[in-house]
């Protein structure tokens, strides 16, 4: 114990014997640590935003469908369990949120034009705040109840169709007997979405109204459940499977949207690769610094050895010096990256490349996400690898022949 204290002191003083060299190396480590953590925070934020957008579009962490619905999203593939039975089962289950909806392809026609869309028959009360529309300003109003007679469409779709709030549109789809099912609606509201394609794609109607139009009773196309954390959905999944049994297909969000799921995985791997790459770039300088520090002190190391200091303490002294250097750099770098995140915590506007980010499935704001686990990962990886890198120069120092070392010029 006593020896460690001495080694620490020796290492600390050695570090500042050549303060210029130490400072330069410290700057490099600080910059490296900052870049590791700050960049990771930005990338994490990007992916989190994509996942957030993806989950609000799906929506939910876990979805229930007819087993054939995903390949054939039509009225023929409704959940083979009545909506009231679903509500009965899910109401008391203690989920953070859940809702069921009718979701079928449809054609919307104004007096000028028509487009293919996805008709969502929703319960506006139970879906409040769960999907991508409710967080955004809406022109007119949103739906008020399951039997609201109006529809809410995207702002962009309204422009294409040359329609506006108060005008009438016709929605056309088909009923389970393959007959055309259509109905006139008044547009009661326009929504805006972060991802512009949603504005062209989705039309909201009341669930009961949609069921009436499609000539189905008490049935829905999908049910979704929202848990508390998108990274940990197993509990919600297991409970949903338990409630549904084998009568319908239960899927997790990353199985439905495989793009998002693999994005998350690729990013986890990428963060690690990035940390390693930065470390490697740093390691050359680190080893170099240590080699020079040892080289300068050959005589003094020889003297210590001659006076009876055990080689392992010489080794320890060099390693501690290296770890001290790394630890200081990491501490400053971590603090700086925290500080760098503060002013942009409320999001950076990246709409200059907005259409491109749409392609990635991202919105126009980027919220950096500084995770403690990433900070720890970066620090631990650098310390462990730094320890390994400093072993070689330290080993050399510990194995000098005392006489030779002392007499070296």
């Amino acid at each position: 114990m006593h020896m460690i204290a001495i080694l620490m002191r020796l290492a600390w003083r050695n570090l500042w014997r050549n303060h210029r060299r130490t400072l330069i190396m410290l700057m490099a480590i600080t910059l490296g640590a900052w870049a590791m953590i700050f960049m990771t925070a930005l990338m994490r934020g990007m992916v989190a935003e994509m996942v957030r957008g993806g989950i609000s579009a799906l929506p939910g962490h876990v979805q229930v469908h007819h087993p054939d619905y995903r390949d054939d999203p039509s009225i023929a593939n409704l959940i083979p369990m009545s909506d009231s039975e679903l509500s009965e089962r899910f109401a008391g289950a203690g989920f953070a949120a859940w809702a069921s909806r009718v979701r079928v392809p449809a054609v919307i026609t104004s007096e000028y034009d028509s487009r293919g869309v996805t008709l969502l028959g929703v319960d506006p009360v139970s879906e409040q705040g769960l999907t991508f529309v409710d967080d955004n300003p809406v022109e007119g109003r949103f739906l008020e109840s399951v039997d609201d007679a109006g529809v809410v469409i995207g702002k962009k779709l309204a422009t294409t169709l040359n329609t506006q709030v108060g005008k009438r549109v016709v929605l056309m789809s088909q009923d389970p007997d393959n007959e055309i099912a259509d109905r006139g609606f008044r547009v009661v509201g326009l929504f805006e979405a972060d991802i512009k394609a949603f504005e062209e794609n989705y039309v909201f109607a009341g669930k009961a109204t949609a069921q009436k139009m499609l000539r189905i009773t008490d049935q829905v196309s999908e049910l979704f459940v929202l848990g508390s954390d998108h990274r940990n959905v197993d509990e919600v999944y297991d409970k949903t499977v338990e409630l549904i049994g084998d009568r319908a297909e239960v899927m997790r969000w990353f199985d439905i949207d495989t793009y998002l799921g693999s994005m998350l995985k690729v990013m986890d791997g990428f963060v690690f690769v990035w940390i390693i790459v930065i470390f490697l770039a740093l390691s050359f300088g680190l080893v170099n610094t240590l080699v020079m520090a040892v080289f300068e002190r050959v005589r003094e190391i020889g003297l210590m050895l001659a006076l009876g200091m055990r080689p392992v303490y010489i080794l320890g002294q060099i390693v501690v010096e290296s770890l001290l250097l790394l630890a200081i750099g990491l501490a400053i770098g971590s603090a700086l990256s925290w500080a760098a995140v503060q002013p942009i915590k409320d999001g950076i506007d990246v709409s200059i490349v907005g259409d491109g980010l749409d392609m990635w499935g991202m919105s126009n704001m980027l919220y950096p996400e500084l995770l403690l686990s990433d900070v720890i990962l970066a620090n631990v990886v650098v310390l462990v690898l730094g320890f390994l890198a400093s072993l070689s120069p330290a080993w050399r120092a510990a194995h000098y022949e005392p006489i030779e070392a002392i007499t070296k010029v």
């Binding site: 190396m25 390949d71 039509s74 007096e111 294409t160 793009y259 259409d355 392609m359």
Partner: protein, 409 residues
């Protein structure tokens, strides 16, 4: 000059380990930069080519405003003769006319609202990869025939097979009711279910009759083969347009704004990372050169007192750095080139990337190509920063006082 060069060369190898470590840092970064930049540039051009050649083309002639609203009424009059005359002028490029409408496509059992494209059967395969994706049956042949090709996923959902009849219901150019019966002659399979579900093609002549187009259409698509020279081609096409009608010529960037921006977003994050790498290398060089200058204070004092000017000493230090930098550049570019070459034969894949790649029309395995540009751009920047980093130690020499310097140990 020769003497200075020899001096610099020998100075470098007074501490071979240090020199190699510093060169190693450069080689490492250069190798990484060469590989990453080759991979990136290769991906971008593949992404652009695959996306544009799939359907959009490099240039399109449209009615002004169509690009934003995509309304049925915004047409290009007499589109077939226009495409014909352009085809005669632009011998090196491919030209084809298209019209776009929306229709409810119904089989006996099912109906889907979907985009219907009227295409010239004879020329469509010059501007789109779709005719080559026909998995069953054949592509359209006769410009007036009541025929249709649809995607595999849609065929499955509509429950139709080759030879079956489909009913199209939509609104015509004047907003009136448009209807037609077509025979399914071909099924294409792009491997992307969403695309297969969103595009159908019928002959342009039939389209014009059915949707009351009166000889007009919506796009003249020009495939320029690649994105080089598109700007020149754009102005040339502009000058070839008939005088009577107001028309707009859009390039691929306007047609697919997401593409360019996705590339920009990716590039800016990549360049941030490269920047960090380069700066870390610069720190490493700064540290090494500063040390080597400080070590030689005594020696520099002697040569200064012998009459050497500080300016020449500074140049010596810069030359040492330049030699080291050149070594790093050549070896790094060589290793990076070899690494990239290896991947250009064996292909590069990253676990989980297939999903992401498919979203951007990319194959799961990349074959990065080495070019002089990708080989030298990264190492070149590293070299410049290396020299910049050596400026500080070189300038410090200018203040050296011979007598004081000689006294330094």
């Amino acid at each position: 000059m020769n003497l200075v060069f020899r001096l610099a060369w020998r100075n470098l190898w007074r501490q071979p380990r240090r020199t190699w470590l510093t060169t190693g840092a450069m080689m490492f970064s250069n190798m990484l930069l060469v590989f990453m930049i080759s991979l990136q540039f290769g991906m971008y051009s593949l992404m652009i080519d695959n996306t544009l050649q799939a359907f959009t083309g490099h240039l399109q002639i449209q009615a002004p405003g169509y690009i934003d609203d995509k309304k049925m009424r915004q047409t290009v009059a007499d589109i077939v003769p226009l495409a014909e005359s352009l085809r005669a002028e632009l011998t090196a490029q491919h030209v084809a006319a298209r019209a776009t409408g929306f229709a409810l496509v119904s089989s006996e059992e099912r109906s889907y609202g979907i985009a219907v494209f009227g295409v010239e059967p004879e020329f469509e395969d010059d501007v789109s990869t779709l005719p080559g994706l026909i998995a069953e049956g054949r592509f359209l042949r006769d410009n007036e025939a009541a025929e249709i090709v649809i995607g595999a996923a849609l065929a499955r959902n509509l429950r139709v097979a080759l030879g079956d009849e489909l009913v199209l219901l939509g609104s015509g150019r004047d907003g009136s009711f448009a209807a037609g019966v077509v025979k399914l002659v071909g099924i294409f399979d792009s491997g992307i279910a969403d695309f297969d579900r969103s595009v159908t093609e019928i002959p342009l002549g039939f389209f014009q009759d059915m949707f009351y187009m009166n000889g007009s259409g919506h796009h003249v698509v020009i495939n320029a083969g690649g994105i080089d020279g598109v700007a020149a081609l754009q102005s040339r096409v502009g000058s070839l347009l008939p005088a009577g009608q107001e028309l707009a010529v859009h390039d691929w960037d306007a047609l697919q704004p997401g593409l360019q921006q996705a590339i920009k977003a990716d590039m800016s994050s990549a360049f941030f990372m490269y920047g960090i790498l380069v700066i870390l290398v610069a720190f490493s060089v700064l540290n090494t050169q500063l040390m080597s200058v400080l070590e030689r204070t005594h020696e520099f004092g002697i040569v200064l007192s012998l009459g050497l000017t500080p300016g020449r000493l500074g140049r010596l230090v810069l030359l040492e750095t330049a030699i080291m930098g050149m070594l790093g550049l050549l070896l790094g570019a060589l290793l990076g080139g070899l690494l990239t070459y290896w991947f250009s034969i064996n292909g590069f894949a990253y676990p989980g990337m297939e999903e992401l790649a498919a979203k951007f029309n990319l194959p799961a395995r990349f074959f990065p190509q080495v070019s002089p540009l990708t080989l030298l751009i990264g190492p070149g920047v590293v070299f410049i920063f290396t020299i910049l980093a050596a400026l500080y130690p070189a300038l410090r020499l200018q203040r050296l006082q011979p007598v004081e310097a000689m006294r330094a140990v």
